[in-house]
């Protein structure tokens, strides 16, 4: 096997571990450089530089598994870490399905690395933070940035295993995240946020982030209170992300296998309106959430989760896939400090044929959701969401911004009552990327 600089750190330990009697072994390595400028109370607060590195070691022995991690590349520390993983494996009762994946052909994803970020310094983050503060002030002095981060990220990951996996990759990211509220004398608007993460620093649209952030904050300053009613809902991409996270959670094979998902035994069944199609593409070009391989060195790929309302595929890592005698979908996730779990990468909810304007026009009484504050139950799908900056729609026209109003229902049942999906969509990019349209729902219970 050809090993690069990163993997050469653990390469000598692979044979040693096998000679010491482990059946299989996997090293996951991570090296990160993160520069950040912080905004607090509409002022530059501080800036930080963090260089981090670490290794997670997973060993299998007689059907048992042990895991240990250490934030060091020093040989003596790796040795201790390996011994710990082996000790745990000896103590754990043997179980079926512990499994390390075999080497598979990797398709390299494209455009996930930017040389400019590698050369980015903390002072560059400070300059951008300063620019954001000035732009916000020019738009409206009532805008208060409660907190904000401007952050450049450089990550190198690698997997070396006794199953002949020997792979590493570098990627970069640039992130802006602003949170705050508009304040005018005694009047304080509700908190809102705007963020984006890109691969290449030149792709960040500072003006768009600042304008969207300002628009949301100012819109939240003047609000009215209304009486409870039952009406339609046009759900914004931001609110959709909160609600659809429950559907993605339910599609994780780990939740299905532990009977904690409404999607259990539902592969091939209609679980939503036929307008709904959701895919996850781990190889999407030019996305910070993409990579060529997952946390276990398994190839990333495109996966259709829901197609025209039918549940097609669960998200698997190799452990859950092995339990069902199927292949992993390349969704093993997590950092070096944890045993691989399951997470989505680049979720896309397919756009529809309605325009947002048409959705509003056909709504006699309803609410255009902006952001929601909710802790929905991901197992039952029940939710009670406080709408933040929700806008009242009456007779096809947007009226006032509403003071806090609560919408109640079961989101899994709502999936079948989707009336329309918009052509327009918005990308919400963080460590997971979402591309989401607006959705029109019927008969939501609003409590003021």
């Amino acid at each position: 096997m050809m090993v690069n600089d990163l993997l050469s750190i653990v390469d000598p330990f692979l044979d040693k571990a096998l000679k010491m009697g482990v059946d299989e072994i996997e090293f996951y390595l991570e090296k990160q450089k993160i520069n950040t400028a912080f905004i607090e109370s509409t002022k530059l607060k501080s800036a930080t530089a963090n260089n981090m590195e670490g290794i997670g070691i997973r060993v299998l022995k007689n059907g048992s598994m042990g895991f240990s991690s250490i934030n060091s590349f020093k040989k003596e520390k790796i040795k201790i870490c390996l011994q710990k993983a082996m000790t745990i494996a000896k103590l754990i009762p043997s179980q079926e399905n512990y499994f390390l994946p075999d080497k598979k052909q990797i398709i390299k994803t494209s455009n996930i690395y930017d040389e400019n970020i590698v050369n980015f310094k903390v002072e560059n983050c400070i300059d951008i933070a300063d620019e954001i503060l000035k732009k916000c002030y020019l738009i409206d002095s009532r805008i208060n940035i409660e907190s904000g981060i401007i952050c450049s990220i450089e990550i190198e990951t690698g997997v070396l295993s006794s199953k002949n996996i020997c792979i590493s990759e570098e990627k970069t990211g640039f992130m802006i995240e602003l949170g705050g509220m508009a304040v005018e004398g005694e009047k304080i608007g509700s908190w809102d946020e705007e963020y984006n993460t890109v691969v290449k620093v030149n792709d960040i649209d500072i003006d768009f982030i600042v304008e969207e952030f300002s628009r949301k904050l100012l819109q939240n300053l003047e609000t009215v209170k209304i009486k409870p009613f039952v009406g339609k809902a046009i759900i914004s991409p931001e609110a959709m992300r909160s609600l659809f996270s429950m559907v993605i959670d339910a599609a994780k094979a780990s939740n299905i296998q532990s009977n904690a998902s409404f999607l259990k035994d539902k592969i091939g069944e209609n679980i939503a309106n036929e307008k709904l199609t959701i895919i996850d593409d781990g190889l999407k070009s030019n996305s910070f959430a993409s990579s060529s391989f997952d946390r276990e060195g398994f190839p990333r790929q495109k996966c259709t989760i829901i197609e025209n309302g039918i549940f097609r595929n669960a998200l698997h890592n190799s452990y859950t896939a092995n339990k069902e005698n199927t292949d992993s979908t390349g969704h093993a996730s997590g950092d070096y400090r944890t045993i691989p779990e399951i997470s989505p990468t680049n979720i896309e909810i397919k756009s529809g044929t309605f325009s947002l304007e048409e959705m509003i026009a056909e709504t006699k009484a309803g609410v255009l959701f902006n952001r929601i504050s909710a802790s929905p139950d991901p197992i039952s799908g029940d939710f009670a969401a406080v709408l933040k900056g929700g806008r009242l729609i009456e007779n096809g026209e947007i009226k006032n911004t509403l003071r806090e109003i609560t919408a109640v229902g079961n989101f899994f049942e709502c999936l079948k009552t989707i009336r329309g999906i918009s052509k327009e969509n918005k990308s919400l990019n963080y460590y997971t990327s979402w591309k989401i349209p607006y959705i029109l729902l019927d008969d939501i219970n609003y409590i003021s």
Binding site: N51, F67, S258
Partner: protein
Amino acid sequence: MKDILQNVIDTRPDGVYIEARYHKREQIEILVKQGKIIKDLADDYSGVGIRVLVNGAFGFASTNQLTKSALKKTLDEAITIAKNLAPKIKDRVEYSPIKPIVDIFKNLGKDPLANHSMEERINLALNIDKEIRQSDIRIKGSMFHLREPTNHKIIMNSDGTVAEIIDSRPDVFIEAIASEHGKIMSNRAVDGICGGWEIFKKFPPNEIVNKVVNTSIKLLKASSAKGGKQTIVMEPPIVGFICHEAIGHTVECDFVLAGSIVNGKIGEKVASELVTMVDSGEQQTAAGWLPVDDAGVKTQKTIIIENGILKSYLHNRITAKHFDVEPTGNERAYEYNNEPLIRMRNTYLEPGNFSREEILEDVEFGYLLVSPGGGQADSTAEFMFAVREAYEIKKGEIGNIVKNISLTGNAFEVFNSIDAIGKNWELNSGSDFCYKWQPAKVDGGGGTTRAIATVSGELE
């Protein structure tokens, strides 16, 4: 390690204020679901974070290399950052003075975690998980999750603070998932402390299994609550949660200066006169125990609201200087590579004079709120949080369980409506983390408390 930290402090250039913080966290974690061990891990995470104040600006850098030369390089990096930041900031950062702390604080509990073997943990996890699964035919899912972080910190600064803290903060989660006729409902119980294996005395797993199993089964047939303004009786974990989530965040002084609703309201009446709300690092067994904060400031018992009057915000050394008060010791960092931020510790209501029975017997109709789910609050103190377990109260009697219940409203309006606080004081919401850029282990509680709030549910 102290010598290496002292060396970097002693070799700093003139005009540089420095805080150097070593933190080693070792964590054992076991997660069992449906009889399968999903996680069995040991994590070791250590390093040094250095924050400097130069020309009125902060710079922070961290390293996992624990050598003199690596720390010197990290110090230089932090100084460069501060120097780059200084010309861009409008208001120079100034610190309020502190008395240096030189002490060692140890809190590993009555029965340290180190006394217990990995085998004991694994057997406990597998047995409890099995007990959940075998308890009832309607139980289809089970989980036992144990996390045991042990921390060793050395906090030093150029004021002369040398504080060493050694502690462990275990938490436990037990969950049952019930299913019948295609309907799925879950219930979980969680708790966390600062201490050791005695967590299982406070949180006896076998008793907890019965509770979560029965509650998840009851939830299968539960109705929704009646939406609208209702009388609520909050048990201590809910009281702690509302204190933390809905009031506590608005008084964190970084949030105050950004324009939260309490800005300029010190001395004003903000709650019922029965309310005295405190944030404190003092309680040794609570998950938010903190003898010295991560900037080297001794923590204090901070009375936020006294008899309904707003008395104090939660401060770091900068906001304390701004308001010309003493820092309250609330600046915390989760791990060595996190810069300290203003965070809460143990946040609670002081006990009242009522018995729990007296509080319940006067309720014609309302809801008893037992354990919190997740939640969020706004700068305006508008809050929303889900309640995992709640019951109807009719004519003073506890009735049926209700599902999908959330509380919303303005926290100060809810606190103004409080008309009874119980004597039955306890801190027991120490299970979860608070997230504000980085996690922090916190706790909260109080006595059973009666108030009026908006409850989500079906329209009548």
